[in-house]
Amino acid sequence: MKTRYFDHVATNPLLPAALDAMMPYLKEEFGNPLSVYDLGLRAKNAIEDARDMVASLINAKSAEIIFTASGAEANNMAIKGVATAKQGEGKHIIISKVEHHSVLNTARSLEKAGFAVTYLPVDKYGFFDLDALKKSISKETILISLIHASSEIGTIEPIKEAVAIAKERNITIHTDAVASTGNIPIDVKDLGVDMLSMSAHQFYGPKGAGALYLRQGQRLVPLIYGGIQENGRRAGTENVPAIVGMGKAAEVAKAELQQRNAHTGRLRDRIINALKDVEKVHLTGHPTQRLLHHASFVVEYIEGEGMLLMLQAKGIYAASGSACTSKALKASPTLTAINVSPTMAHGSIVFSLGIDNADEDIELLLEEFPQIIKRLRDISPFRKGWGEEEGGSKHV
């Protein structure tokens, strides 16, 4: 059966050009970039070329890019690194209620270490409450870390406005741009952030490669101590093939971004326009200020895992923020933050698109998915409504 992959926020297939670029460094070009002989120098040069390409993708200087093993590591490095570096100035950090777990759980770990953390509320679209941001800043505030775009609800956040607030008070600001980097245009100089996290496999690079943009002059204490790799900021022999693949993927993403966005944006709108007519199916996140490859919904009266399994039976892969699909059996904090009730959150479904999707994939999805909704609703005791169990659609 042909498979139709609509889970590009989970990961992406590796770009063939990235694999080709990586191959020599998995084979004969195995040198350690720190070695002084030519085999090592070639590996070092390959990393620096990749750094140029990644920097160019976000309009940074090459020296401002630190390679990591993942977006999660970049988030950890940014938050712990600045918190540790600046703890003498204060011990208050601000994040939002719609952060990825790698930001949320890092902030929680700092709470246990004696820092105070404010969790910024959001509105029904997931937009930060900027007034609450202003009010929550104190003399103790040393760091603000806010997501650039949510992989769960697609909303693109007003980071520039948050940066303006942070800069007025001279507070370091980081953004988790893992879901957006390589998928929408990003210019760190225009955004004005001090740090930005990204992940290669979100833009068709390999897994095991990420990066942190660290504005020149921004202080940071390393997570990993050891040798002088990454200018002493991240010790450990570099994952040369993955970094090379990330560089290539960044180069191609920059060249093809407009074309990719036009393609996925059109497919996204086909899904949103078709599903908005299905009864008791609600779009989550903002209708237009959202990632171009992202369409997310809650479907009333049925549960996400059931939808995913039925879609899989048709060769269609998607995602859900339903508690039953999470290993911890907890509803997504992001859906809770945008005021989706726990009952409704069970019906979460996310379709995220990519360059490998075609119109015929969307047509199959739009033919199958409404039938799957009907089948599951036919089984559900709530098919005629939540009754007294739940207040219904007013939550979305």
Binding site: Y301, I302, E303, G304, E305, G306, L309, M310, A313, S322, A323, C324, T325, K327, L329, S341, P342, T343, H346, D378, I379, S380, P381, F382, R383, W386, E389, E390
Partner: protein, 124 residues
């Protein structure tokens, strides 16, 4: 994650629906938790002649519902009441540990349906 047997019951659930003139109805779980099961039974001479279910929940919850209705059909009330969660899980070739508690509500829903029948039966 799920056994082939469980997936088969999820994909082709048996005994889906309502019984309009049910002799007993049992509801277990709630939609806030993510799993809710409603079981309808038709009883003749202390034997379950017909059984149907409606379920809101994950793949495991739907498969459990399908399986418990198959297991209960034709059994005496006493035999049906004795079916345990473990029996249902075993019949599905096992459930993932995290689903044993939240999604394995079939035996409880069936017991509630039997109790509902018995309480009505006594009154008559």
């Amino acid at each position: 994650m799920y056994s082939a047997k469980l997936m088969e019951h999820f994909t082709n659930p048996r005994n889906v629906g309502e019984i309009a003139d049910a002799d007993g109805i049992g509801m277990e779980g709630n939609p806030t938790c993510g799993d809710a099961m409603k079981i309808f039974i038709k009883v003749e001479n202390d034997v379950i002649r017909d059984v149907k279910f409606q379920t809101f929940g994950c793949g495991a919850a739907i498969a459990v519902s399908s399986m418990i209705t198959e297991m209960a059909k034709g059994k005496t009330l006493e035999e049906a009441y004795a079916i345990t969660k473990q029996d249902v899980a075993d019949a599905l070739d096992g459930l993932p540990p995290q689903k044993m508690h939240c999604s394995n509500l079939g035996a409880d829903a069936l017991r509630k349906a039997i109790e509902d029948y018995q309480s009505k039966h006594k009154q008559n």
